[in-house]
């Protein structure tokens, strides 16, 4: 590790690394050992599983879209504009990453619930309500997922040599063309990684969702919620759904190989 060619790490490093690997591998092995393989087909095609899968996929993808639409401009402002209080704003944007998700869900209720700061006037005026609806799930998921995208994209923007955008401007590109043709493509891999991370986070979200959007099969019950409820009674469904979540997460990580971290 001290030369120019990668070789085997020293023994102590290997030992610690293997211990770390065990931390991740053991629960997965435990899960696989308890899986009711003969029943898994019927469980995964039952109404609880299919409803939960459908809601999870739709809401997580929608949340990832929201995270992208709002997160990229946020990252841009944080990376490119020096304004007073910038650190504070960045802290605010990253808060959902450190906040316990249930607390986040409660806070969302106090803002957008029926008696919420913003939710109440909107409800009184239009009858529109986020809690207990699929859109509520999307909002809760977007709340926890967006910071991941902001962090990734902001770092990419900071590392981007600003002279390329200046060159694009001098050579005739207006601000929008420079953003679309120069900035975005050059940070493309990072944006992709950020979107993937946000989506994976949204897929696994539980605390904020159950607190804000509630739990109703067929409407707001996502896979993590279904697993939690199923654990108390129908073990097999819980394990089968967990396996699906694990498989999806693994797929995300495989796609997020080293390649995605390459920058121009």
């Amino acid at each position: 590790m001290t030369g120019l060619r990668p070789d085997r790490p020293p023994g102590a490093v290997m030992a610690a690394a293997l211990l770390g690997l065990a931390l991740f591998a053991a629960p997965l092995v435990g899960l696989l050992a308890r899986t009711p393989w003969s029943r898994i087909g019927s469980v995964l095609t039952g109404p609880v599983a299919t409803d939960a899968l459908r809601i999870s996929l739709l809401t997580s993808l929608a949340a990832a879209a929201v995270a992208t639409a709002l997160g990229i401009p946020l990252a841009w402002v944080l990376a490119r504009w020096e304004f007073p209080g910038r650190s504070l704003v960045r802290g605010l944007v990253l808060l959902p990453m450190v906040l316990p998700p249930v607390v986040g869900g409660a806070a969302l209720l106090y803002a957008f619930g029926r008696r919420g700061l913003i939710g109440e006037p909107v409800y009184d005026a239009t009858g529109l309500l986020l809690p207990f609806s699929g859109w509520g799930v999307v909002v809760a998921n977007a709340f926890v997922a967006t910071p991941f995208l902001v962090v990734t994209v902001e770092a990419a923007l900071r590392n981007l040599d600003p002279r390329f955008e200046a060159a694009g401007s001098v050579l005739g590109g207006g601000r929008w063309r420079v953003f679309r043709r120069i900035t975005l493509p050059m940070i493309g891999p990072s944006v992709g990684a950020g979107v993937l991370l946000a989506w994976a986070r949204a897929l696994g979200e539980f605390g904020a969702t159950v607190t804000f959007a509630g739990n109703l099969q067929g409407r707001t019950q996502t896979m993590p919620l279904a697993v939690f409820v199923a654990l108390e009674q129908d073990r097999d469904t819980a394990i089968a759904l967990s396996l699906v979540l694990v498989a999806v997460s693994l797929a995300v990580l495989v796609v997020l190989r080293d390649r995605w971290w390459r920058s121009w």
Binding site: G113, R115, F132, V210, L216, Q221, V229, L231, E232
Partner: protein, 249 residues
């Protein structure tokens, strides 16, 4: 120190596992798993018990009875289990985790809870079928949810819930905050909260929840645990339970 206590001490301080007594010398420590609806009552009971018997410290951990049951079956180091229904207790007994025969120490029934002021003008069980109201139940897998569905079935009403909350406390909080118009919760929950009102359910539809309690077979301090259970069933204990709205057998 001999190896075994030393190892236990190291493991306990390193991992801060619940149920680790502080070196095992400062006094007994009893861990009670109790149903969510027993939260306030058992807080009172624990305080009163510690005042009467200073050598024993009682920690109460509440949650959905079914979740607690699962934890006990997976080996959680609880000393006492108080469930909100007989079904969960039966599973504990069948698994051989009960040190003795469970005893019913309290009873509860359900009421309709609405936010203070009853803004949606709920009058009875019939409102649970109205789609335009925001209705909450407990998840079917927890006792409160099971009872709630029994009540509605008895009344011949097909409910239109907007959420099946994972435990009764979560349901109650949403009603208190006005996020829900009505829900089915325990009588004791309504009694404990100043921000909800209760609407009676006709007796012929209502269910009676029986709360059994037992010392667990895996307890490391069966005597202290037994002392606590005895206190719960004593005159003092019953008075505390009644004060919180339970009926006592």
């Amino acid at each position: 120190m001999t190896p075994a206590p030393l190892l236990r001490f190291l493991v306990c301080t390193a991992l801060l596992l619940p149920g680790c007594a502080a070196g095992g010398t400062a006094g007994e420590h009893v861990l009670v798993f109790a149903a969510a609806s027993l939260t306030d009552a058992f807080a009172d009971l624990a305080e009163a018990f510690e005042a009467a018997d200073p050598g024993i410290e009682v920690t109460v951990s509440t949650g959905a009875s079914s979740a607690l049951r699962e934890q006990i079956l997976e080996g959680a180091p609880a000393d006492v289990y108080a469930s909100a229904n007989e079904a969960n207790m039966r599973l504990i007994v069948e698994a051989g985790e009960a040190a003795a025969a469970p005893v019913v120490f309290a009873r509860n029934d359900l009421v309709i809870a609405v936010p203070a002021g009853n803004p949606a003008g709920v009058t009875g069980l019939g409102d649970f079928a109205r789609a335009e109201l925001l209705i909450g139940l407990c998840a079917a897998q927890v006792p409160c949810g099971d009872f709630g569905r029994q009540v509605l079935a008895a009344a011949g009403i097909v409910p239109e819930p907007d959420t099946d909350e994972p435990n009764v406390r979560a349901l109650l909080t949403k009603i208190e905050d006005g996020e829900l118009d009505a829900g089915l919760v325990y009588r004791t929950d309504v009694a404990a909260s100043r921000r909800v009102e209760g609407i009676e359910i006709p007796n012929r539809f209502n269910v009676e929840a029986s709360y059994p309690i037992v010392v667990l077979a895996g307890s490391a301090r069966p005597e202290a645990a037994g002392a606590f259970v005895a206190f719960v069933r004593s005159e003092n204990g019953r008075a505390i339970l009644e004060a919180r709205g339970f009926t006592v057998p």
